[in-house]
Symmetry: C2
Amino acid sequence: MSYPSALEKLIKALGKLPGIGPKTATRLAFFLLFSPKEEVSHLAKAMLEAKEKIGRCSRCGYLAEDSLCAICQDPKRDRSLLCVVQDPRDVAVLEKAGAYKGTYFVLHGALSPIEGFGPEELHIPRLLKLIEEEKIKELIVATNPNVEGDATALYLSRQARPLGVKVTRIAFGLPVGGDLEYADALTLSRALEGRREI
Amino acid sequence: MSYPSALEKLIKALGKLPGIGPKTATRLAFFLLFSPKEEVSHLAKAMLEAKEKIGRCSRCGYLAEDSLCAICQDPKRDRSLLCVVQDPRDVAVLEKAGAYKGTYFVLHGALSPIEGFGPEELHIPRLLKLIEEEKIKELIVATNPNVEGDATALYLSRQARPLGVKVTRIAFGLPVGGDLEYADALTLSRALEGRREI
């Protein structure tokens, strides 16, 4: 016996969160125990509500509280441009950058035979159907610059090109504000590969 | 707009936890979003239940689900020994060490005029009454070895000694398994001060 059982239970439940070890879980549990009741129930409610309300957009697979996400519902977005990303968080990052005015398609993963992620799991048949039905003009593949992301990009371009859509890949190279000296070899070779006339 | 409002709300609520910045809060929120529903409601329930069920022991101030905590309810504990600590977590640490068979008194703080913690806030009048009523033989002061903790220990000894109780302070010195070379000056001077004949 060290803590009351309700506290032990809370510490154990918090310890299941990613990156939260037993010490942090204990610290968080004590914080909650000594927080005002309204704040604790606010957090508990926020967790349950997010879980309950948020589903996937039926068009693009991004997070949505309705059948369509806020981006797909927005009449100002260019629906002839489709940007393919691996993760819903990527959409948020691109939206924050504010440089893109088209719509998205979220794969929820990348091709990975080891993890059992094939074209079906990534909703690629649905993506191809969407390209045909909505007469998408350009498919911008913004999967991650690693083996799985590149393989997915290659697969997508092979599948989508026959449908008459232009398939592009976002550029990889030196990050703006970066320093040549600190760039890794792969990034440097990608930057050289993608060089443009000035 | 970047995330659905229910998710933004959850990220904001998680970000209020200590040591959880916006990035970690987002990571945790996504983890919860993609966790099975039962796990999320289990965590939410654990939070609410801990908050609801756990109060303070009416005798010692430690965490308790009933009016008395498990330690004060235990007939095997020596009720003539009382160990004074600053924080409920200190009780758990001492219990884990398993070297103490008496009962506790939790101050929930230490004397600190700046933070507005006087004897009243630390329940010291109640402690003195308990010493008299239960005829406590020894009061072991285990407040932290810092300015506030030492001041509290001094204050307690002055208040409690006239009641005929023996007041002791836990020993400070080198941690077992430690190395003289790495000990700080204060710990070393305390270790010298507390030297014993062998």
